[in-house]
């Protein structure tokens, strides 16, 4: 876990999050005359289930699980220390999900601070203007929104980890491909939803896969997705060929 926080990719993501906070602060400041607090803006990014920036950004960290280890040669070192490939990948994935969970809250702090520095307020002032849906939510609904966003982030990164493990030795390609695939799927789904608004299948996909208006079944779908992609990544790593020369 400690190693993950020392990687360049992690540092780059923190810089992007600060920029995101600054841009959001500037946009809110220009749009509303009332004061808007950093916490209100930060809360929007972690609790609003219609907000996709955080989970999509986190996909860029997917290479840290396998590809960076493969390129550095540490994957080979782990194997020579007697590690079973599948067990190693499972441990690494679990540790990565914990890291992502921590990063989720670091995101809240970074965005809130950066946005607060721009707007000049650090509290929850102006939440109604920033995100009216969140403003009208009860605390329990807010917590559920944060939970669903965390689960969605896990889902997205598990896909990213699997795709990046499909292309060992090539950094960024796997994560960018995953972001592209998710974006295209979202566009297709949204377009189809516009056309078939009352279709039950579309309703199911929007509510349970994309968590737009989540039902209880959405949690099961999310957890299943996470398990399936984690298992697929383990199977993939079991089959990865060690190149004739490593790092």
């Amino acid at each position: 876990m400690k190693i993950l926080f020392k990687q360049k990719q992690w540092v780059a993501i923190q810089a992007i999050l600060v920029i995101l906070g600054v841009i959001s602060g500037l946009a809110i400041k220009a749009e509303f005359k009332e004061p808007a607090g950093g916490l209100a803006i930060g809360l929007h990014f972690i609790a609003d289930t219609h907000e996709y920036i955080t989970p999509i950004l986190f996909i860029l960290l997917s290479d840290l699980v396998f590809n960076v280890e493969y390129i550095q040669g540490t994957f080979l070192t782990h194997l020579t220390c007697g590690q079973n490939r599948k067990v190693w990948m499972l441990k690494k994935s679990v540790s990565f999900y914990v890291f992502v969970l921590l990063q989720f809250f670091i995101t809240f702090i970074l965005v809130s601070l950066a946005a607060g520095m721009i707007t000049g307020h650090f509290g929850l002032q102006g939440l109604k203007g920033v995100d009216e849906t969140l403003y009208n939510m009860k605390t329990i609904e807010l917590v559920r929104g944060i939970g669903l966003n965390i689960l969605r982030t896990f889902m997205f990164v598990s896909l990213g980890v699997f795709v990046s493990a499909l292309i060992p030795g090539k950094l960024v390609i796997g994560s960018v491909t995953s972001i592209g695939a998710i974006s295209i799927m979202m566009m297709i789904t949204q377009s189809l939803y516009q056309v078939y608004k009352n279709n039950k299948v579309m309703d199911f996909v929007i509510h349970n896969i994309y968590f737009e208006n989540p039902t209880k079944f959405a949690w099961i779908c999310g957890i299943l997705w996470l398990i399936v992609f984690t298992l697929l990544s383990m199977e993939r790593v079991k089959r990865v060929e060690i190149a004739s020369r490593g790092a």
């Binding site: 190693i3 020392k6 990687q7 550095q72 040669g73 540490t74 080979l76 070192t77 782990h78 194997l79 020579t80 220390c81 007697g82 590690q83 079973n84 490939r85 060929e241 060690i242 190149a243 004739s244 020369r245 490593g246 790092a247």
Partner: protein, 208 residues
């Protein structure tokens, strides 16, 4: 007692030429085997097959009576340094050795044992891996093999990039290791460097 066994092993990369063909070797407990051959002859590949990180296309491998492909945990009793291995670049050599030693099941006494080896090698293990020279990195990897008190050493050109002083240290460590009745397999191009320590030499030629 046979500690390492390789029987009629054949290996080639997909769509590539054969690198190893019907290759066999047998190493008894306490023996020092040196695999010698020209560059590109497949010595490193043999070691990778031997420790189960590359599956052979044909043939079988056993270390301490177990197939390392099916039972990778057997490698916890072996000290392996093969081509392509790496350490975490942002961590120091010391942190890296301790992390991987723990992974091999060494919990108690790792720091103390490592300190002894640091004195022997006389290099700064607090150097970050990314800032370490080729020789320092090699020494850190060899130290990982040694501190876990492995039954078998499987090393690919350990003397490469070491200066005269550290080559001397390496020879002394190997002498000591062999005197304890442990097994050593080294691949390289200079068997003479190890002199009388070598019990058996196997030649690996390029397959035409």
């Amino acid at each position: 007692m046979t500690e390492v066994l390789m029987e009629k092993v054949t290996f080639y990369f997909p769509k590539g030429p054969k690198i190893v063909e019907d290759f066999s070797l047998e190493v008894e407990k306490g023996e020092f085997l040196y695999i010698v051959g020209p560059n590109g002859s497949g010595k490193s590949t043999i070691l990778r097959i031997l420790c189960g990180v590359v599956p052979p296309k044909k043939g079988s491998v056993e270390i301490l009576g177990k197939n390392p492909l099916k039972n990778p945990e057997v490698l916890k009793q072996a000290g392996v340094t093969v081509d392509g291995m790496g350490f975490y670049s942002e961590l120091s050599l010391r942190e890296n050795v301790l992390i991987f030693a723990k992974e091999k099941g060494m919990n108690n006494g790792a720091e103390k044992t490592l300190d002894n080896y640091i004195k022997i090698w006389d290099i700064d293990f607090n150097t970050k891996y990314k800032r370490g020279s080729h020789g320092m990195r090699r020494i850190a990897q060899l130290t990982l093999s040694l501190i876990t008190d492995s039954q078998v050493l499987i090393w690919d050109e350990p003397d490469l990039a070491l200066d005269e002083k550290r080559q001397e240290v390496l020879l002394n460590l190997l002498k000591d290791y062999k005197s304890k009745g442990k097994t050593i397999i080294i691949a390289g191009i200079s068997p003479d460097f190890y002199g009388d320590l070598v019990d058996k030499t196997v030649h690996k030629e390029v397959i035409v």
